[in-house]
């Protein structure tokens, strides 16, 4: 016996209500301000402008519809609905076998044969049994069925939805998200100190892999002032000793030790020599801020006697006048200039500056000299790990396989009935196929053959 609660849970009406509610929530997601789409400042402004509405939305989980409790509850009930439905189908199949209704629409009944009905019934039974059909019946009727794999295709299809939901549920437990910056020629290790930000750590598994990463070189190509190609040659070595080297582009991340390193953004870095009291050291300075003229940043340059001097650096890809802005091909540093502005502080009364070509130097403070060597690129990498995505992909693969099996493999049925027509026993042979008539041609031939043989048997 199927518990009544399961039948209720498996009802189609419930499925309609749930899907319709999900659609409604998706509409509300468009209509109401969402934390996901608004910046923190904009959302705070909305909260101060309409505090009551904001509170109500928050209470109902409608300010982050797709991350809210309401959406989650409905998804869970929908999963239960699909589970109950699948279980019900399997149970019914076990207890009753395949049920393919004989369709009585015009043209689907094969024919009828008027003769000694029981003879044909016997003949049909023998013939169909020998042909692998599964028979049920009595002295009045014979039902022959051939189960295709379609039912199991349907089960796989239903199960695929649950697998997708399972994958989705596992994502927050297993995923990692962070960003890191690597300059050309730089090597880093996947450890907490390397990351610029870490926004999500997995609850299951280690967040940091210890893999060594190196950005060998970067190349940016333009077409009509638009970036059409940006690729970095990267190499990596994981803790198992497996190495990988590949060109990394947008859409083509570097996959190492279960993490994907996605190229996101690039700017200029300055390859320079810093001389303090005659002692030189090579430095790479990432200029993080994009400006109309190029990229800039402010560094704290060490002083010979201790302490630091704030120095603003701005690199332009070509020589620019004071009011000029960078050309569209911003990242093509054909003839770069490094503008150095030593900021005024308590120890120096006025700011000083210089514009350097490659190989030129400027004194930042007494005994401290900066020499501009070369331009490099720095690149921001989004580092993500979503191992549960493979479960979701598997779910979709199952959906495709299940659908194919369901739609291609037919459940077939031939029914031979003795009916009473105007006091005369009459045999009717019908055939049907599900999900659609892919078995019709064969079964029509089979039904006709039955009638023909029956007729011949009668004659003989």
């Amino acid at each position: 016996m199927i518990p009544r609660a399961v039948r209720k849970l498996a009802s189609a009406r419930l499925a309609i209500v749930l899907i319709a509610t999900l659609m409604l929530l998706t509409v509300l997601n468009v209509l109401f301000p969402q934390k996901t789409y608004f910046s923190a400042a904009d959302f705070a402004r909305f909260q101060s402008d309409a505090p009551d509405l904001a509170r109500a939305l928050s209470l109902l989980g409608l300010d982050v519809v797709f991350g809210g409790w309401l959406f989650a509850v409905i998804c869970i009930i929908l999963c239960l609905n699909v589970s109950a439905c699948t279980w019900l189908r399997i149970s019914e199949r076990r207890s009753r076998g395949v049920r393919v209704p004989i369709r009585t629409e015009k043209g689907l009944l094969a024919a009828s044969w008027r003769g000694r009905a029981t003879d044909l019934l016997d003949l049909a039974s023998r013939r169909l049994t020998s042909d692998g059909w599964v028979l049920t019946g009595n002295s009045k009727w014979v039902d022959a069925t051939k189960r295709g794999a379609g039912f199991w295709g349907s089960v796989v299809l239903h199960a695929s939805i649950l697998v997708i939901a399972l994958g989705g549920a596992l994502v927050p437990l297993t995923s990692f998200a962070g960003t890191m910056v690597i300059a050309e020629g730089q090597s880093v290790i996947d450890e907490p100190a390397t990351y610029l930000t870490v926004t999500r750590e997995p609850r299951i598994g280690e967040p940091f892999t210890g893999a060594q990463l190196r950005l060998e070189s970067m190349n940016v190509e333009y077409e009509d002032g638009i970036v059409v190609g940006a690729e970095g040659q990267m190499s990596a070595l994981d803790t198992e000793g497996d190495s990988v080297s590949r060109l990394v582009r947008v859409n083509h991340p570097l996959d190492v030790a279960g993490k994907s390193y996605l190229l996101q953004n690039t700017g200029f870095a300055v390859d320079a020599d810093l001389s303090i009291d005659g002692q030189e050291q090579a430095v790479v300075l990432n200029l993080a801020d994009r400006t109309p003229r190029g990229y800039s940043d402010t560094i704290e340059a060490p002083r010979a006697g201790g302490g630091t001097t704030p120095v603003r650096l701005e690199l332009t890809p070509v020589p620019l006048g004071p009011e000029e802005i960078a050309p569209q091909r911003l990242l093509s540093a054909d003839d770069p200039r490094l503008e150095v502005q030593v900021q005024a502080d308590s120890s120096s009364s006025a700011a000083t500056g210089a514009v350097l070509k490659r190989g030129e130097s400027v004194e930042l403070s007494p005994g401290v000299t900066l020499t501009f060597r070369e331009v490099r690129y720095w690149s921001t990498f989004l580092v993500r790990s979503e191992p549960a995505r493979t479960v979701v992909y598997l779910g979709f693969a199952l959906a495709v396989v299940g659908s194919l099996v369901r739609f291609i493999s037919a459940d077939r049925r031939i029914a031979v009935r003795i009916i009473d027509e105007k006091g005369e026993p009459t045999v009717v042979v019908g055939y049907a196929s599900r999900p659609w008539g892919s078995g019709y041609t064969r079964d029509r031939a089979e039904a006709r053959q039955l009638l023909r043989l029956g007729a011949e048997g009668e004659e003989s």
């Binding site: 189609a12 991350g67 947008v250 859409n251 580092v383 993500r384 979701v392 992909y393 999900p435 659609w436």
Partner: protein, 287 residues
């Protein structure tokens, strides 16, 4: 958009509009020759549409799938092609034009308003997964729009029945309920299968571009709900034995999801699927 492309697109649109009027007339007055003319005009429009795609392909130097206009250009062509393929199987299905062709016209109209200068294929679009994703999206939505067209035939029959109009008043060339139902079901099954591939390939592309296979982007969510809705359609047909009017309404309501996925995104303040801005935001400031 070049002059040749513009002329071809507007010619196609005019032909589709004329074909729609004729299909309506055929349905209302039961005139079969009007339907023949309607289908003929749609075929000519489709040819002009195909040539427009070819012209765009030639002038852009890449298959038109990049921005909103290009996406719509090919997507609407797929809708017409699916409609004509269905009509080839059975001429009477041509009356589905009363839904399919207006949908195509609205889609094309929207696309034309979004058309800008030809852009190179920027890094975010340089992915085979994206090509697979949009191709299956076009096929899926073409199949679903054809189903919505067929739903109108079912509802037209039902209306005639409910108004107690004698059956012979309905022209004999309008396909039977069973036939319409059977073809609708096949199209839904075909669309459902392609929809699954579309969502899966889109999620793979999303992971490789944004680092997340699913971000609950409204378009993603609408696609998933549309998939579930058509899954329900099949369930209702096979398991619950729904036929006729109820199933036709499910088909029409499910089409809402398709429309939202195509145009609904433009209502949003921010979506990862804003086709016309993806290249801009990711290529100039970020890749």
């Amino acid at each position: 958009m070049s002059t040749a492309e513009s002329v071809l697109i507007w010619s196609a649109a005019a032909l589709y509009a004329a074909a729609t009027i004729l299909a309506f007339s055929a349905l209302v007055w039961g005139r079969r020759e009007m339907l023949r003319w309607s289908i003929g005009l749609a075929v000519v429009g489709c040819v002009a549409h195909a040539v427009a795609i070819g012209v765009r392909w030639y002038s852009a130097g890449h298959f038109p799938y990049v921005e909103d206009y290009e996406n719509v250009l090919v997507g609407s062509f797929a809708m017409v092609a699916a409609y004509l393929a269905m009509t080839y199987v059975r001429r009477g299905f041509g009356v589905a034009a009363v839904v399919v062709l207006p949908t195509v016209l609205i889609t094309l109209g929207y696309g034309v308003t979004q058309a800008g200068a030809i852009q190179p294929v920027t890094p975010p679009y340089q992915s085979a997964w994206l090509v697979i994703h949009v191709t299956f999206a076009w096929i899926t939505y073409a199949a679903y729009s054809a189903v919505a067209g067929l739903a109108v035939i079912v509802l037209w029959r039902e209306r005639a029945r409910s108004k107690a109009i004698d059956a012979p008043i309905l022209p004999e060339w309008i396909p039977s309920e069973e036939e319409t139902d059977d073809v609708s079901m096949r199209l839904v099954a075909f669309g459902f299968l392609n929809n699954a591939v579309m969502i899966a390939s889109g999620s793979i592309w999303a992971y490789r571009l944004w680092g997340s296979f699913w971000r609950w982007d409204p378009v993603e969510t609408w696609s998933l709900l549309t998939w579930l809705a058509y899954g329900f359609y099949m369930h209702a047909h096979f398991t619950l034995g729904w036929r006729g009017r109820r199933l036709a309404w499910v088909a029409l309501l499910a089409l809402l999801g398709v429309l939202m996925a195509f145009w609904g995104v433009q209502l949003l303040p921010n979506s990862y699927h804003l086709f016309n801005s993806l290249g801009e935001t990711l290529s100039n400031q970020r890749f």
